[in-house]
């Protein structure tokens, strides 16, 4: 461990070089950087698969993914979901920005367990390799990211699903270790004077996320293990022929799966709060309300799981409970949305790229939230379940909510991480291309879903052709905006202006802006005093 044990050690800028710096890294900034690069790779992989899906669906009777009686389509769809969740959103938001900025924002020298941090990251590499194998082995894993049995047990006899399940085991272990590290760091290593009620909202977002991970992911691990033994060792946890129940799997999966969607959005909540406060040049409106809204969302998130299962035959009372509990989540969420708006209200707004993304986040997240309130009603959901309306809903909150959080955070912290400024013109252009693109993809899906188009199908009747075509055009636009983003980053590294310690002005009041840009290898070895 690299704690300062004597005063003069502080000035010894211990700096490993070459491959050792990265492979054996225990430095939170280097590990964060690796997470972001890894996540960018996952994003490119996952986005390419989504482009393939949209090309298949551009016209009726598409043939691009028609191989193996459309099993290829199922496999691509499954891998798209898993990649985006486990290998893009989570690594970037939690592993990337979390590692980089939690220690900086609380004035800690590093994470509590730097070696554990290294393991967390490197577990993801074999995990991604196994997931890739699950695409190419045998007929591939075409179960959807939810891998319900019996489709994932007797329905997929070859090893593809086993590879996928072990991959998720590793990703899950990585997340749990990361969560332990974040919680310990935030609880024990805050700078003197940095009380819990002074923590920046991004840190709160990561703290709540870490608790959700700690409590939800073990349940996924249990369900996966039972599924693996059902597949390979003749147990029947989920097999009625041996006295098991496939519905139990759905209960376990969604007990993990619902908190998981908050795991993806909570860090984005935090980023949006920091960004809006910075560019409105005001403190966040209703700080305590914002904190406890996140805590409340996290807690209620554990008791609403069966709203994913309204059509499995739960009785009326259970459906009524899960409807009511789900609707309650709209209250703390509403507190957050109104507090963001109130933070902007009367502020002197600067429309830098991160601010555009944060405002875009609010608009799109509210649209996704409204369809969420619609779907939360068990009675309504029975007719909308497994239609494109659901696909539109969760892409508005995740693909656009979490993704816009990623972009907002990246544009916001890029100067701190690299010491370079991103061109404002190009960044803003990329925002508008992405904003128009994603809305073109997903808004028509509401109409398709209401018209009854089921999700997870590779073909559709002519009646749905028009909106599907527009949606596919949108995905080409969005993908192009993604490539443009890669160019913008390249441009910034090559020709970007040098960033000052605090390029965003007085609104950026958190501790990371008090260290130079790029942030030096070691920071806060002597903890700052927070007043």
């Amino acid at each position: 461990m690299s704690y300062a044990t004597t005063a003069d050690y502080v000035h010894d800028d211990h700096h490993p070089t070459g491959w050792r710096r990265w492979v054996l890294s225990t430095n939170h900034k280097d590990i964060g950087t690796m997470y972001i690069i890894f996540g960018a790779f996952g994003a490119f992989f996952g986005a390419t698969l989504s482009l393939l899906i949209r090309l298949q669906l551009a016209h009726p009777h598409g043939t691009i993914l028609a191989g193996q009686e459309f099993q290829i389509y199922n496999v691509v769809l499954t891998a798209h979901g898993l990649l985006m969740i486990f290998f893009f959103i989570m690594p970037v938001l939690i592993g990337g920005f979390g590692n980089w900025f939690v220690p900086l924002m609380i004035g800690a020298p590093d994470m509590a367990f730097p070696r554990l941090n290294n393991i967390s990251f490197w577990l993801l590499i074999p995990s991604l390799i196994l997931l890739t194998l699950s695409i190419v082995v045998g007929s591939g894993a075409g179960t959807g990211w939810t891998f319900y049995p019996p489709l994932s047990s007797v329905g997929h006899p070859d090893a593809a699903v086993d590879f996928m399940l072990v991959s998720l085991h590793l990703a899950g272990a990585s997340s749990i270790l990361g969560a332990i590290n974040f919680i310990t760091t935030i609880i024990n290593m805050r700078a003197p004077g940095m009380t819990m009620h002074k923590l920046p909202l991004f840190v709160w977002g990561i703290l709540v996320t870490a608790f959700l991970l700690l409590l939800a992911v073990p349940v996924l691990a249990g369900a996966i293990t039972m599924l693996l033994t059902d597949r390979g060792f003749g147990t029947s946890f989920f097999e009625p022929a041996g006295g098991g129940d496939p519905i139990l799997f759905q209960h376990l999966f969604w007990f993990f799966g619902h908190p998981e969607v908050y795991i993806m959005i909570m860090p984005a909540f935090g980023i949006v709060s920091q960004v809006i406060s910075t560019f409105a040049r005001k403190a966040v409106f209703g700080y305590l309300g914002m904190v406890y809204a996140m805590v409340a969302i996290g807690m209620i998130g554990f008791v609403v799981w069966a709203h994913h299962m309204f059509t499995v035959g739960l009785d009326v009372n259970a459906n009524a409970y899960f409807t009511a509990a789900t609707l309650i989540i709209a209250v703390p969420t509403g507190i957050k949305v109104f507090s963001w708006i109130a933070t902007m209200w009367g502020g002197s707004l600067i429309f830098e790229t991160p601010m555009l993304y944060a405002i875009g986040f609010i608009i799109l997240f509210v649209i996704g939230g409204v369809t969420g309130v619609t779907l939360a009603n068990g009675g309504v959901d029975i007719s909308l379940h497994d239609t494109y309306f659901v696909v539109a809903h969760f892409h508005y909150v995740l693909s656009m909510g979490a993704l816009f959080g990623v972009f907002a955070g990246f544009y916001y912290w890029f100067p701190k991480m690299t010491g370079k400024m991103i061109s404002k013109f190009m960044g803003n252009l990329q925002f508008w291309l992405t904003f128009i693109g994603v809305n073109m993809i997903f808004f028509p899906m509401h109409f398709l879903g209401l018209a009854g188009m089921p999700r997870r199908i590779p073909d559709y009747p002519e009646a749905y052709a028009g909106w599907n075509y527009i949606s596919s055009l949108g995905s080409i636009l969005t993908f192009s905006a993604g490539l443009f983003f890669a160019y913008i980053v390249f441009h910034a590294f090559k020709w970007g202006k040098k960033a000052s310690a605090n390029p965003w002005g007085t609104g950026a009041s958190t501790l990371e802006w008090t260290v130079p840009s790029p942030a030096p290898f070691h920071t806060f070895e002597t903890q700052p005093q927070v007043s």
Binding site: G234, D245, L248
Partner: protein, 196 residues
């Protein structure tokens, strides 16, 4: 730290680092405990889920009667019978009566018929429930072929009896006033590992 209040700055720094390390370690233990607890719960869920369904009648799980009802209410309920067979089990399985009428508290007896269509010995086990699900808690089985494994030799056929009653307390539950028909359903599965 309090007792070291007068120590030089460097010493303070050292003891603060040790203090943080110690706190980190105990936090680590608590967090590993929490997460292991959730893992254990998820494995226990299989048994807990079954207990929950049996105790509450959730999902239309029927009850096993320990005592016979002490009275018969004047409420007639139609019991309909349904039978399904998993494709892996080569049996012909069907109810011998479409429906019967019983009063609440009255013992009903019904029969299903099973025939092994294959030439070899097979073992089946039936899963069961009732609809509407909310009557599961009031539907009591005195004896049922679904309680045990059923063995049929190649070509053998047999009748499967089920003896049941509706708990007379059903008349006291206003949420069940709308129930005048109950469907009793069985699905026979091929048993993977027959018991001895």
């Amino acid at each position: 730290m309090g007792s070291l209040g007068a120590c030089p700055l460097i010493l303070c720094c050292v003891c603060r680092v040790h203090e943080v390390k110690e706190k980190n370690r105990s936090t680590l233990v608590i967090l590993i405990g929490l997460s292991s607890g959730m893992l254990a719960l998820s494995f226990a869920s299989s048994a807990l889920y079954r207990m929950f369904c049996e105790k509450t009648g959730h999902g239309g799980t029927t009850q096993v009667a320990k005592i016979r009802p002490n009275r018969i209410e004047n409420r007639v309920i139609t019991i309909r019978f349904n039978a399904d067979t998993h494709t892996e089990l080569p049996w012909d399985f069907k109810p011998l009566q479409k429906e019967i009428k019983v009063r609440a508290g009255e013992i009903g007896l019904a029969f299903y018929h099973g025939k092994n269509l294959s030439p070899s010995h097979t073992v089946g086990m039936a899963t069961y429930n009732v609809t509407p699900h909310k009557v599961g808690i009031y539907f009591n089985k005195v004896d049922c072929f679904c309680f045990i494994e059923q063995h049929l030799e190649g070509g053998q056929e047999t009748d499967f009896p089920v003896e049941f009653f509706i708990d007379p307390d059903i008349v006291k539950d206003p949420t069940l006033d709308d129930v005048d028909t109950i469907t009793l359903s069985y699905t026979f599965f091929k048993l993977k590992k027959p018991g001895p």
